[in-house]
Structure formats: C-alpha cells, structure tokens
Symmetry: C2
C-alpha cells in the first residue's frame, strides 16, 4: 500500500492531465511527483536518486517505473530534464515562478547554483526568431569552479 495524499479526493492537475490523455493516475506516479513537490523546486534528482528517496520514505517503486514516470512527467510538463551532469540526466520540478532559469555548476564537486537573467532569455528568443524557430525554452549552463574547490 502506498500512503494517502492531499490529492486523494480533490482532483489534481496530474490526474486531470492524465485522464485527458486516456492515462491513469497510479500511486506510483503520484508519489514521484509528490517527491519533487516536497523537496522543492531547486533540487536536481537522477532516476536513482528518486528511487532511493522513495525507499527512504518507505515507498517501493521499481526503477523501470521511475524511468517511465519521469519521461511521462517531462512530456506532461511537470518536470524539467537537465543535461548538465556526468553519469545520468537529472530532473527538477518545473515551476511557474522560475520559468527559464539557468545553472552555474562546479565541474569538480557538482555543486549547482541557479540564477535568472532576462538578457539570456532575450538572446535565446532573438536567436530562435532570426532562424525561424519556434522557441520552447532556453537554458544557460555555466561551467565553473566553486570557492571550496578552487
């Protein structure tokens, strides 16, 4: 049995989105999304991380399902996929308050800071426009060395 959630009776955006596409709301999918919601929007988790964190909360979801769910949640727009690390992609909650944010990553220890910049968003918008592309999103990855690793 998987625990209850605030969405048990109120109908969540997740549930609505799933049903709209003929998909189903399962405890596993709810748990994965809840994990990201509880952990906050600045966290970057790999599939393995999600698996471990759920185990620590006494929720066993198979790794295969986690991969399937992460892909699904990205498609549905609930999560963002990041490609800034060695060894595996990472995922974060997409947040309306933080639409196009960027990452400053330490190449030694992996420490990551987030920031926003209207100039960067604007540069991406212009580049897309100039080439006739339809913009989806832009992310700036700044590779650097953090103070404690210098």
């Amino acid at each position: 049995m998987l625990g209850s959630s605030p969405y048990d009776r109120i109908g969540s955006p997740l549930e609505a989105g799933l049903h709209q596409e003929g998909r189903r709301l399962t405890p596993q999918r709810r748990k994965v999304l809840e994990l990201f919601e509880n952990i906050g929007s600045g966290m970057h988790l790999s599939a393995e991380d999600v698996h471990h964190q759920l185990l620590e909360a006494n929720t066993r979801v198979s790794l295969a399902t986690i991969y399937r769910t992460l892909r699904l949640l990205v498609e549905m727009g609930f999560l963002h996929e990041l490609e800034l690390s060695e060894g595996g992609h990472r995922f974060e909650l997409s947040s309306r308050d933080h639409p196009d944010h960027h990452h400053l990553v330490c190449v030694r220890c992996g420490r990551t800071e987030e920031f926003e910049s209207e100039n960067v968003v604007e540069a991406g918008r212009k580049a897309a426009e100039r080439n006739g592309f339809e913009l989806i999103e832009s992310t700036l990855n700044v590779r650097a060395v953090c103070p404690s690793c210098q």
Copy 2:
C-alpha cells in the same frame, strides 16, 4: 599504417601540447583531430560518429581509443564537449574565432544552428562572480522547433 598528414614534418600544436605533458603523438590522435579540422567547426560528432567517419576514410581506430582520445583532446582544449543531445555526448572543434558560442536545437529533427551573444557571456560571467565561482565557460542551449518541423 595510417596515412600521412600535413603535420608529418612541420610540428603541430597537437604535437607540441602532447610532448609538453610527456605524452605522445600517435597516428590515431592525429587522425581524430584532423577529422574535426577537415569537417569544419560547426559539426557535432559523437564518439560513434567519429569511429564511422574514420572507417569511411579507411582508418581503423578502436572505439576505446576514440573515447580516450576525445577526452584527451577536450582536456587539452582542442575540442569542446556538448551536452545537448539524447544518447551520448557530442564533440566539436574549438575555434578561436568562435569562443563561447551557443546552440539552437530543433527538438524534433536535431537540426542545430549556432550563434553568439555577448549578453549571454556577460550574464554567465556575472553569475559566476556573484557566487565566487571561477568561470570556465558558458553555453546557452535553446530548445525549439525548426521551420520544417513546425
């Protein structure tokens, strides 16, 4: 035997760089770097791509050596490593004319356009400074849909 090259007698930056670190100039290393030089600086190749392209030019270099060589050439600054694709990293020639350039990628067909932006570079520099990080490089990835895929 691997074919001859323009560097056979004149001494290349590659050779100089290698010897400086007690490393050796091998035909394999020369061939990999030459491939990037001949193909031009806007091309993004995966390790597999490099392997295939060399085979087509009748040069057999093992995949293991290609991975080792790509890592080496990145460390030495001859190549740049990109993280914008599904399924494996890609590499491109680093060019002095094109220092910190950015990518506009079509999420459907993978078509990639490059561009530059002083504002973006500046935003990365500021973010690093604000957090006490030592900047290495910054890359903006703009995900979008190209005209023919719209």
